[in-house]
């Protein structure tokens, strides 16, 4: 189980809905950072992912290592949160 999960989202992004829905189906809680309401945190999302897109999901594991998943990508999300 990961230590914590943060998702960067926007109001209009359907893929963000999918990531949240999927995490919810696995009973995983997460912190959501909405870049429409917190535009000042865009830089943070970009620096971590290297991409100008959402969703960006940051999974922090118990050993404090981090995994950054860009987009709705179950092939990467599933192993990252296991």
């Amino acid at each position: 189980m990961p230590k914590n999960i943060t998702i960067f989202t926007t109001n209009t992004c359907a893929y963000c809905v999918m990531v949240k829905k999927w995490l919810g189906s696995k009973d995983l809680s997460y912190e959501e950072v909405n870049l429409d309401t917190n535009p000042e945190r865009q830089k943070e999302s970009f620096e971590m992912s290297g991409q100008m897109t959402v969703p960006v999901t940051i999974v922090t594991k118990t050993d404090d290592s981090r995994e950054v998943i860009v987009g709705y990508n179950l092939a990467k999300l599933a192993p990252a949160v296991s």
Binding site: T12, C13, A14, V17, M18, Q42
Partner: protein, 402 residues
């Protein structure tokens, strides 16, 4: 099977072989009782059956007790020949490939008539409609509505009647006697009838820089990535409804947008073009302009180079990002090796009843040859396909019961 005949697995949470056995039984769709030897009294119960020998997993079926059996042994004990295993295969009345508007509309109709229905979606529930900012022409919504809200509404309505939407991908399709066999990321599955409603996806330009800067300056989803261009300059490529609609959406963020249209006029609807005129302050339309290269510096996009086809001269547009909406390509790669006939651009061909060249397999929405790429048409076709599948299932039942 009475409860006394239900096989029993004695195991523990920490025991890998026990978990493997349970996974294997699940894959055979065999129901069993799991008894955890760490729970009070269970170890003693097990030892009474194994002459005091402690080894897990211990597997009991009827009078036969075996310890740490391999898969062949398990099948033998359960009396499963290849034939009986085949009977255990996961079979559904209808499997719908995709969960966009056509798929969800169809599922509303099938499930409401008690036709058991499973949908497979590899991307977003709601499909391209879900990532469309605003849908102005879907009947019944006088003010228009957000694509995301329309998708959510369709999903909830389908789930209310019992549609089972699974997040996974269908990889192949073939006929298997009266059934249709689908290979999926969840394993093989069978259906009496199948609806292909995989829709389409945005096409790429295939020009230098497009792949290099994908996600870092080159985008195909304005509702996802537009917010990164607050107070920036943008290029939007395309002259159809999507390009115009999304360019207008992007004016929320960008200060200046160059819209590059290849031909001398737009394909977008009149009403959208009028809407576009209202944004002339921010959006400049460049007709007869091809998009040839996306150029970056220090890992970000700085300009787009195109050609004015009237003067045959290069034109350069300084920009921070590019959004591309140049049309759609059908999502039919998974059908290439199947017997489902496609037309020369990869769309699924059907007859008047929306049935494809493979009996029992139907198609609806953007993926179907002749589609008009409208959400209203997709939901309409989805409903039609549901009624055609119902008729097919009734005929199938009649012939198999003869």
């Amino acid at each position: 099977m009475s409860t006394t005949d239900t096989p029993i697995v004695y195991g523990a949470e920490w025991c890998g072989y026990c978990n493997s056995l349970r996974t294997f039984l699940d894959s055979l769709h065999v129901s069993y009782d799991y008894r955890n030897v760490d729970d009070k009294g269970i170890e003693a119960e097990m030892l009474a059956k194994t002459d005091g020998k402690y080894l897990i997993p211990t597997f009991q079926s009827g009078d036969t007790v075996t310890q740490n059996p391999d898969q062949e042994k398990v099948k033998e004990i359960l009396g499963m020949s290849a034939d009986t295993l085949a009977e255990k295969k996961e079979t559904h009345d209808v499997i719908i490939v995709g969960a966009g508007p056509a798929a969800l509309a169809s599922a509303i109709y099938t499930t409401r008539e008690d036709i058991e229905t499973v949908l497979f979606e590899k991307g977003v529930i709601g499909g391209l409609a879900a990532i469309t900012d605003w849908v102005d022409n879907y009947p019944g919504f006088p003010e228009g509505l957000a694509g995301l809200d329309l998708s959510e509404g369709l999903r909830k309505q389908a789930e209310r009647f019992g549609a089972d939407i699974r997040l996974g991908e269908v990889l192949g399709i073939e006929k298997s006697e009266d059934l249709i066999k689908l290979s999926t990321t969840d394993g093989d599955m069978y259906a009496k009838a199948v609806l292909i409603a995989t829709g389409s996806d945005y096409k790429r330009l295939g020009i230098p820089g497009e792949d290099t800067y994908y996600g870092r300056g080159v985008h195909f989803c304005a509702t996802c990535d537009g917010a990164f261009y607050r107070d920036k300059r943008l290029v939007v490529v395309g002259g159809g409804n999507s390009a115009v609609q999304e360019a207008i959406f992007l004016t929320r963020f960008a200060t200046k947008i160059d819209l590059l249209v290849r031909s001398d006029k737009m394909r977008a609807s009149e009403i959208l073009q009028h809407e576009l005129d209202k944004h002339a302050e921010k959006i400049t339309v460049h007709y007869n302009t091809t998009t040839d290269e996306i150029v970056g510096e220090n890992n970000s996009v700085v300009k787009v180079i195109g050609t004015n086809t009237k003067t045959n001269k290069h034109v350069t547009f300084e920009t921070d990002g590019v959004f591309i909406f140049i049309g759609l390509k059908p999502n039919t790669v998974f059908l290439k090796k199947s017997n489902v006939k496609l037309d020369d651009i990869g769309m699924v061909t059907t007859d008047n009843e929306l049935e494809t060249s493979m009996k029992g397999v139907f198609a609806a929405g953007d993926v179907r040859n002749g589609a008009t790429m409208q959400i209203a048409s997709a939901t309409g076709e989805g409903a039609t396909a549901a009624l055609m599948m119902r008729k097919y299932l009734e005929d199938l039942e009649r012939t198999t019961s003869l």
